[in-house]
Structures are given as structure tokens and as C-alpha cells.
């Protein structure tokens, strides 16, 4: 049964090949149906693997043969089936299938409908390669593949008019560059691994590392820090998080799939996968925890000040990823993975609900220059879009961490782990949890409650069934997702234990749970007091200095602009000047010199026979003289 694992990757590839070949000829939603079917079948295979794992929880490695063999260095086309990879597979294909279905409705009528699904399937294939790979190099292939798809999908509407196309492609470039910096870290980590252990195979590397390295060994710290750089790029952590908010330029389903539910969690997955290495490097663990916590807090505070419906969710995603990273940094791998799964449910739900809202509002808009993503133009959509509203509410409350929704349990486990090990981190994460409840409630009140603040909001209507069904399914998962790892039962924990060998099972701490629940309720109340009452959204909040700072995102982008982009551009201009004057100049000078010489020499080419003969005779004379002198005269 484990031998089915290559199919998980092959099915999306088959889907994309069909769409690639027939995309132009498929009519209406057919391309989307093909892609959704491919994703669904991959999910079915993942379920079969899950069933197989129940009987044999240690899993297996399925090798399709050697990829690279250089001396003793071998890289195989090997796929790892274990509880961790199958968990990721289920999330990726499950949520992926729902988002594929949703996209059929969302992308309807788009000029590049089929291409969108080709990208989505390609993304699925790459992501599944990433999570099933049995060695770092194969993982890196998937890692780069998802990065490529992210780039393609962020810049999907690169040809929009009115400067928007430029913004979209710039956002795509920004994501690409930020990810490349992280990828460099991952590559360097791989070089270091090969240098130290002579292999990139997970089992070999971890086995050798555990045997040969002591806890706190500099080598382990170095490698894990480099891995962390890769994680900060892919999972949008400090300092490389700036690309994710801009990535919202892509179509909303892509945001939901790639920039909320799956790709951005690859970093968390990488840390959990490389847990044996991180365990050897306590210093890196602390760095990871601090980075995650700071990111969580910073992003949550920024989310409070945004007006763009998707931007709020983008910062929320960064913040929640911070939670996961902090969890794995604390060594609470199960908690991190648990939050990864529930977050995939409710954040994909929130994004798709936001997409549904944007869809509805944009359809209601009658003016061309209308920003359908600005929450200030919304309001009162509760009545006009009931299904979207109720599903959104489920996701929002799950994110806010209200019991008994999914987010409550997963977040609570992280908080408990922090409470037990690092009180400072616990305090910061609790503040973040409060902010989380506040900003998501703020969004809910601005969008769905009160009165419509624009003509478009009055004319908005709910989306079609193909978009609403995935919302309902995800809403159900967001509500009951906590059952995966209920306190006291630890289904997921026991399940993942086969892979992570994490001895410590998270315990339920009533104090922690109580405080966070109370704070979440407080946050919602505060949001109601500030935004829920009439007349909402009419006061200009930008007057407050704090709010300006939040709205301007703490000027992080401006800081980076000053610190890195500005100097880089200056350097580029300098080099360009050097290139234009010195390098090009040398080339041109060479050309001109040749021309001059040719001009001079041309006069000797009279084309007259006598002169040719004279040249021959003169040459003969010179040669003879040289020979004569060479003789010693």
C-alpha cells in the first residue's frame, strides 16, 4: 500500500499535463473539473496511505531508483511515508481539493482559466514532493517548485491595466527575491550537511548527527541556523516576512492555498522534519522561538491597522505562522503541527470567505475605480451574503481561539508549552492572542455588521454553490478540528510520535486556557465597542499616532527600502555606470580602433596588380634579408 505514494505526486502532474495539452480546447469549467479531480484523487491516495499507516505506524521509504550518484554520494528518488508526511499530505490535498473546487467558481470567465489550474496542480505536485521527500535535495526541489508556483500565481494578473499589473508583478518579484534569500540559507545548510555527514538522506543525516554530535555542538547550531534562514523566507518570519502581504496581489484562491494553508507552513514542516538536528542545537531553538514570537506579535499588531480585507488576513497568517514557529522552537512539535492543521482549515476558510465577499462586492460595484477589497466600503453584508457570513464567523471565532473551536485547542497547546518553559514568550503570545481576537472581530464588524457604506455593498449578493460548498466543509472542519488532538486524548500527538519521538505530551492547563479565552472575549468586546456600534467606520482612526504606525505597518517596508533596496539600487546604478563607461567603453574603443586601423590599411588595398606584385616582392626581400641576417651574415 505504501507503494502508492508516487501516485500522490503523479496525479496532480497528470492533471496539469491534461490541462496543458487541452487547456485551449476545454470549454467552461472543464479545466477546473479536471484539476479538481486530480487533486481529489491525490487526496484519496493520501487517505489510503493513512489507512495503511494505521496498521504499520512506522511507515516506509519508497524508492523509485537513483537520481544522482557521485562516488559515495547518492540521492534517490525516494519518498517517505510516515505519520508526519501523511498528515501534511492530507492537509495539502484535502484543503487543496476544496480550494480547487472553489476556484472553479472564483476564476469563472478569467481569460487564463485553464492556466490557473495548471499552476494550482503544479503547486500541489511540488508541495507534495516537498512533504514526501526522503532527502534534503528532493525536498529542495519541491521547496523551489512551490516558490515558483507562488511567483506565478502572485503575478497571475500581471497584465491588469492602470498600473495594477505592475504592482502585481512587482509583488511576485518581491516574493521571489525574499524567498531566494531564504533558499540560499537552505542550500548552504545542505552543503554543510553533506560536508559533515556525506549524505543528504534524512535517516543517514539524523542517525549520524545523533551519534556523532553532542548537544550544543557548533556544527548543529550552524546547520540549524541556516535552515532557520530558509524557514524565515518560506514561512514569512522576521526578517523576511515582507513578501507575504504583497503576495495578496494574486487571485484569492491562490492566497488561500499557497499563502495561508500550505506553502507557508513548509518552514514549520521543515523544522519538525529536522527536529533531531534542532534538538541538538538549543541555541537555535531559542532563536526559533524568539523569531516566531516576535513575528507573531508584530504581525498581529499590524493586522489591527489594515483596511484591505486580504491584508488583514495576510498579517494574521504571518502572526499564526509565528505561533507555529514559536511552538516548534519550544520543542512542542505536536503543538506546532496541530496548529498547522487547524490553521490550514480556518485560514483557508477565512481567505475563501474574503474572496467570496470581494467577489460579491465587486459584482455589485458600478464604478470602475472601486476598491472591492477596502473594508471601509463594506458593512452590513451579513444579510446579503448569509452563507459566507456564517462560515466566515466560524473561521473567525476559530482564529480568535474561542472554545470549543479548532483554534482554541491548538493555540492553547502552544501557550501551555510556552507557559511551562518560557514565561516571557508566554506573555507575548498571550498578548498576540488578544490582538488576534481584536483584529479578526474588527474585520467581522467592519465587513458584515452595521450598514453598508457603499453602493456596491448594498448590491452585493452571495456567491454560487461551487464556491459556498467548500466554505461550508471548511467551516465544519474549523469547528470540530480541535477533536484531532483533544486534551487528554492526544490523537495527533500519539500519531505523530511515531515520527517525531516527542516524549512529552502536551497537558491541558486550565489557567492558560481560561486567561486566553477571557482575553479573546475581551478583544471581541473591544472591537465591538470600537467598530461594531453605529455609526461605525465613520470616525477617522488615522488621527491617532499609534494607529498610523500600525496602518503604516511600523514602517518596516520603508525601513527595508532605506536599508537594503536603496543602497542596492545605488550600487546597481554605480555598477551600471561602470558597465556603460568602462566595460562598454572598452568594447567600443576596440571597435573604433579596429575601424581606424582598417581605414588606414584600406589605402593599401588599391586592387591594382602592380602594387600587389610590389607587396609580394617587398615581402620576399624582407624574408630573404631576415634569413640572410639569421645566417649571421
Amino acid at each position: 500500500m505504501f507503494n502508492l505514494v508516487p501516485l500522490v505526486i503523479a496525479l496532480p502532474i497528470a492533471g496539469l499535463l491534461v490541462n496543458l495539452a487541452l487547456g485551449k480546447r476545454l470549454r467552461g469549467p472543464q479545466a477546473g473539473i479536471v484539476a479538481t479531480l486530480a487533486a481529489g484523487l491525490a487526496f484519496a491516495v493520501a487517505v489510503l496511505l493513512l489507512i495503511a499507516l494505521q496498521a504499520e505506524p512506522e511507515g516506509a521509504v519508497v524508492s523509485l531508483g537513483n537520481w544522482i550518484t557521485i562516488g559515495s554520494f547518492q540521492v534517490a528518488w525516494a519518498f517517505r511515508v510516515d505519520t508526519l508526511s501523511v498528515t501534511m499530505m492530507l492537509v495539502v490535498t484535502g484543503v487543496g481539493t476544496l480550494i480547487h473546487a472553489y476556484s472553479i467558481g472564483y476564476m469563472q470567465g478569467d481569460a487564463r482559466f485553464a492556466r490557473f489550474f495548471v499552476y494550482l496542480n503544479l503547486f500541489l505536485a511540488a508541495m507534495l514532493l516537498l512533504v514526501t521527500a526522503d532527502n534534503f535535495l528532493l525536498l529542495f526541489v519541491g521547496w523551489e517548485g512551490v516558490g515558483l508556483c507562488s511567483f506565478l500565481l502572485i503575478g497571475f494578473w500581471f497584465d491588469k491595466s492602470g498600473g495594477e499589473g505592475w504592482r502585481n508583478s512587482n509583488a511576485a518579484r518581491k516574493a521571489m527575491i525574499a524567498n531566494r534569500i531564504g533558499d540560499a540559507g537552505l542550500l548552504l545548510a545542505m552543503f554543510a550537511l553533506f560536508w559533515a555527514f556525506g549524505s543528504l538522506n534524512f535517516a543517514d543525516v539524523f542517525g549520524t548527527a545523533e551519534k556523532s554530535l553532542a548537544v550544543g555542538a557548533p556544527l548543529a547550531t550552524l546547520i540549524t541556523l541556516l535552515l532557520l534562514l530558509g524557514v524565515t523566507g518560506k514561512s514569512a518570519q522576521i526578517p523576511l516576512f515582507v513578501w507575504l502581504p504583497d503576495a495578496m496581489a494574486g487571485p484569492t484562491p491562490a492566497s488561500a492555498l499557497i499563502h495561508a494553508a500550505t506553502m507557508v507552513t513548509a518552514g514549520v514542516y521543515l523544522i519538525v522534519r529536522a527536529a533531531p538536528l534542532f534538538t541538538l542545537a538549543p541555541f537555535t531553538q531559542d532563536v526559533v522561538a524568539v523569531v516566531g514570537t516576535c513575528t507573531a506579535l508584530l504581525a498581529a499588531s499590524i493586522a489591527v491597522g489594515q483596511f484591505d480585507i486580504k491584508r488583514v488576513l495576510a498579517y494574521s497568517t504571518i502572526s499564526q505562522l509565528g505561533f507555529m514557529v514559536a511552538a516548534v522552537g519550544l520543542g512542542a512539535y505536536t503543538a506546532g503541527m496541530f496548529h498547522l492543521v487547524t490553521h490550514a482549515f480556518f485560514k483557508a476558510l477565512l481567505f475563501m470567505a474574503a474572496g467570496s465577499v470581494i467577489h460579491g462586492v465587486a459584482h455589485g460595484a458600478h464604478t470602475a475605480k472601486f476598491d472591492a477589497q477596502d473594508m471601509r466600503h463594506m458593512g452590513g453584508l451579513r444579510g446579503r451574503m448569509p452563507v459566507t457570513f456564517w462560515t466566515y464567523l466560524a473561521g473567525a471565532l476559530a482564529l480568535a481561539g474561542l472554545p470549543p473551536l479548532a483554534g482554541f485547542f491548538s493555540k492553547d497547546e502552544i501557550l501551555t508549552a510556552a507557559f511551562e518553559h518560557r514565561p516571557v514568550i508566554y506573555v507575548l503570545l498571550t498578548i498576540t492572542a488578544f490582538l488576534t481576537a481584536f483584529y479578526i472581530a474588527r474585520q467581522a464588524f467592519l465587513v458584515f455588521f452595521g450598514r453598508g457604506r457603499s453602493d456596491a455593498a448594498h448590491h452585493a449578493h452571495d456567491s454560487g454553490r461551487i464556491m459556498l460548498v467548500p466554505l461550508i466543509v471548511l467551516a465544519a472542519l474549523s469547528v470540530v478540528g480541535g477533536a484531532l488532538n483533544l486534551p487528554g486524548q492526544h490523537t495527533l500527538g500519539g500519531w505523530l510520535e511515531h515520527t517525531t519521538h516527542e516524549a512529552e505530551a502536551g497537558v491541558f492547563n486550565a489557567t492558560v486556557a481560561g486567561i486566553s479565552t477571557v482575553l479573546a472575549l475581551l478583544g471581541i468586546l473591544l472591537a465591538y465597542w470600537r467598530y461594531g456600534r453605529q455609526p461605525a467606520g465613520e470616525r477617522d482612526p488615522l488621527q491617532s499616532a499609534l494607529f498610523t504606525a500600525l496602518n503604516r505597518r511600523w514602517w518596516v517596508d520603508e525601513l527595508y527600502e532605506r536599508l537594503f533596496i536603496g543602497p542596492y539600487n545605488t550600487l546597481s546604478r554605480l555598477i551600471a555606470t561602470f558597465d556603460k563607461t568602462a566595460v562598454d567603453g572598452a568594447g567600443l574603443a576596440l571597435g573604433r580602433a579596429t575601424e581606424r586601423v582598417a581605414e588606414a590599411v584600406r589605402r593599401t588595398q588599391t586592387g591594382q596588380l602592380n602594387w600587389n606584385v610590389a607587396g609580394i616582392v617587398a615581402g620576399l626581400a624582407i624574408l630573404l634579408l631576415i634569413v640572410a641576417i639569421g645566417r649571421g651574415v
Partner: protein, 101 residues
Amino acid sequence: MTSLNIAIAGALVLLGVGLYGLLIMRNLIKIVIALQILGKGAILALVAAGAISGQTNLGQSVAVTLIVADTVVAVVGLALAVQVRRRFGSLDVNELSTLRG
């Protein structure tokens, strides 16, 4: 100075005259004549050199080869001259030039 050396010296002078003719002449047929003078010098030099070095017969056999080659040069050159005259109406080699610098 032996008679053989005289022959070598004569060959050199003929060579000089031929080269000079090549440099000076503009008429295609006269250029062929200059080439012929060069050839005579070479034949003479070959035979004389053969005699001097004791390889008389080798020198002579090469000389025969040269005579034939020289004759063919004359034939082809003259044929060329006749055709040039027909095409261009002149035997001046410098007017044939189509390669303008």
C-alpha cells in the same frame, strides 16, 4: 669564376629583369612576357645548380617540369588576356579591378 657560376649569375639577372617587368608592366600580355623571363632564369638556375652539385640529371628533370609548367602559364595567361580584351576593351590590368578599397 667558373662558367657554372656565370650561369647562376645570369639566371639571377634574368630573375631581376623579370621581377622588374612584373612591377612596371600594366599590359596583361607584357606581364605574361615578364613571367616567361622569370621562368627562363629559373630553368637556367636549375640546370646550373644541378651541374654544380653533381646532380645534373635531377636538375635537368626538374627543369623539364618547369618548362611545361611555364608554357601552361603562358597559355592560360594569354587566354585570359584575350578574354579580358573582349570583355573590357583594354589590356590594362589596373582597370580590371572591381575590388575598390
